[in-house]
Symmetry: C2
Subunit: 126 residues, 2 copies
DNA sequence: CTCAAAATCAGTAATCATTCCTAATTACTA
DNA sequence: TAGTAATTAGGAATGATTACTGATTTTGAG
């Protein structure tokens, strides 16, 4: 594992995951000033392929990368953009049942309003 | 509704859905030879916004458009690329529960092996 | 009808995320 | 240490999508 690849992995593990390639690139430049975006993409791709990290596609078609390689759903808050994991195992159980055990990968991205924003909205109303 | 927009909608309704903008553009050119790709994109965007059709993002970041605007999951066969709807309501029920009723939209794309390809593979083994 | 305002169009340029390419650098191996 | 393989930085190329522009079509009030 090269210095660049190691840094990319470290940045992702140091965050709560859910970073775009551009965000990781920005962070990485603080430590390796001339690291290239292409390298970040290549390393992210290899880390995905080798099962170190995960990746999922937002509804605008761009990708974000995840600390954990295990398939799980994501909640995107439509107010603040915050991304959380879906811990509930029901969804994957359902998908395994529906695909008769042939499930290879799953992308679940649900847009909702996160608890914090729900509170704000309720306060604003009151 | 313009002639172009109407044609776009008709093409989508005439298919089983799940067409890319480029595919719709190709079909449309058979009837309006000089229709432009930009028009197809604009009309698809408006049809989505106005609730006539749906749209979802594949794992490569590109979009396909769907006859039905109601949120539902999709199964993509990793062997043949075929896309089917998930009829099972459990997934949406789960998501509604998980988001405490604040679910706005959901993208579910599961990669699996479709029944046809499962059969082929089993035949090949035998 | 008639004509002007509004909507829509075709065509093309621009954008954005991502991938590809290449020559140079670095790391491994014997 | 010399040779080879892997990896890099930087930039060019790609592909999907969006934005722009001037021309054309539609619409609706008089």
């Amino acid at each position: 594992m090269s210095r660049q690849k190691d840094l990319v992995l470290e940045i992702l593990n140091g965050s709560r995951g859910h970073l775009s390639a551009a965000q990781i690139y920005e962070s990485a430049r603080e430590r390796i000033h001339n690291i290239s975006l292409g390298t970040v993409y290549r390393d992210l791709g290899e880390l995905c392929r080798d099962g170190y990290i995960g990746r999922f596609v937002l509804s605008d078609g761009s990708s974000v990368y995840d600390r954990t390689p295990f398939p799980h759903g994501h909640l995107v808050c439509s107010e603040c953009g915050r991304i959380d994991d879906i811990e509930d195992p029901c969804l994957m159980d359902d998908l395994n049942r529906i695909t008769a055990g042939t499930l290879i990968s799953a992308e679940i991205v649900a847009e909702h309003i996160c608890p914090d924003c729900r509170s704000s909205i309720n306060r604003a109303k009151a």
